[in-house]
């Protein structure tokens, strides 16, 4: 019993320090993300179409919008504004050629495709977050203008009540007739993201 207690005393501080989120400043935060985007991203190819989903932490979106020199007050208020939602960047590209023209027919021209991704894509997106299935609340389409191979969609989902769990983005693709495509971001990748603390600046 005494030995057991000693082991507990020795192990407990170790567990405690490892469970705590690391605190970093904005510079370190961005450096961490640059190195670890791969863990927060999943992609898969299906019949010539590459699907990709990336989890975008809210603090990253704040720094991206207001710059690294954001003050603590602004950070807190923006965190509050974004706290109801979680954001994902969903990208699609064709293995060859421009995705907006890939396998198009007369009835399915690039303009209709653009209209679909701009206005209707929301209804074909879902997020399985733990035990909850969440539907896309809002999305913003970024066209490729024929320059980039990727088209990109920023999708917002309500924050689930379950703790940090694996996130599964479900794309129901009937444009390229590939059906349900699932992309997975592991819970460990999300829980390892350090906490942005401006006091450290």
């Amino acid at each position: 019993m005494k030995g057991y207690s000693i082991v507990l005393i020795l192990v407990f501080p170790f567990v405690l320090t490892n469970c705590r989120q690391e605190q970093v400043n904005s510079e370190q935060y961005l450096q961490y993300l640059d190195k670890n985007w791969e863990k927060l991203t999943d992609s898969r190819e299906m019949n010539g179409i590459v699907y990709q989903a990336r989890f975008l932490p809210n603090d990253y979106r704040i720094i991206e919008r207001f710059g690294r020199e954001i003050n603590d007050q602004k950070l807190q208020s923006e965190r509050q504004n974004l706290s109801d939602f979680q954001y994902f960047q969903i990208r699609l590209k064709a293995r060859t050629g421009n995705i907006m023209e890939y396998n198009t027919s007369e009835s399915e021209n690039p303009a209709l495709r653009q209209h679909y991704y701009t206005h209707q894509f929301t209804k074909d997106l879902a997020l399985i977050d733990g035990k909850d299935t969440l539907y896309c609340e809002a999305h913003q389409f970024v066209p490729n203008h024929g320059i980039s191979p990727w088209i990109s969609v920023l999708a917002a989902f309500k924050v689930s009540e379950s703790k940090t769990t694996e996130k599964r983005i479900v794309i129901n693709d009937h444009i390229f007739h590939n059906g349900k495509v699932i992309l997975k971001i592991p819970a460990s990748a999300i829980s390892q993201i350090p906490q942005l603390t401006l006091d450290k600046l």
């Binding site: 299906m46 390229f176 059906g179 349900k180 992309l183």
Partner: protein, 171 residues
């Protein structure tokens, strides 16, 4: 001393022969086959879409049944005039016919779209499976004579079913 040398030379020779054997075995074409119908039936997406289609079809059928019931109720009513059934009867019968045709077409279109989605995904997963296992060819046996005989040892159906379902669910 000489015998020892011979032993070493012989062992090296045997090892080289063995290595060449293993290498050529690995280089040999690897062909396997799968039972197409079994793979299709066991694919999770197929099960999901079939349930979805059945639900939609039964909802559509319920709408038609209710219209049919109203038509039957009209015709079996005591004040129904068979010589002059009236505007209500004709319009309901017309709506019923239009709906029936529309539902039949929609069911067919939806079923074709689902089949397309299922086969698109299956083809991709079978390709991935073949690449991962270095197979030269994967044949699809559907019991219609395109593959007349193959040893059961070459049947990858069960392994493939588990592979495609894991891939689909992203496990």
């Amino acid at each position: 001393m000489k015998t020892k040398h011979w032993l070493i030379v012989n062992s090296i020779f045997l090892l080289v022969i063995l290595a060449i054997g293993v290498y050529s075995l690995n280089q040999k074409e690897k062909n396997v086959y799968l039972n197409t119908a079994e793979v299709f039936e066991a694919f999770s997406l197929q099960k999901e879409l079939r349930t979805k289609l059945e639900n939609v079809q039964s909802t559509r059928q319920a709408i038609l049944d209710s219209m049919q019931l109203r038509l039957t109720a009209m015709t079996s009513s005591s004040d129904f005039d068979r010589q002059n059934p009236g505007e209500d009867f004709f319009s309901l019968r017309e709506v019923y016919r239009i709906k029936q045709k529309q539902f039949e077409e929609d069911n067919l279109r939806q079923s074709r779209e689902y089949d397309r989605q299922i086969w698109n995904q299956l083809n991709q997963y079978i390709k991935d499976y073949g690449k991962e296992h270095n197979y030269t060819m994967i044949f699809g046996a559907n019991g219609q004579g395109n593959l007349m005989y193959a040893s059961e040892a070459r049947d990858v159906t069960n392994d493939l079913i588990s592979y495609i379902n894991k891939k689909y669910e992203r496990i």
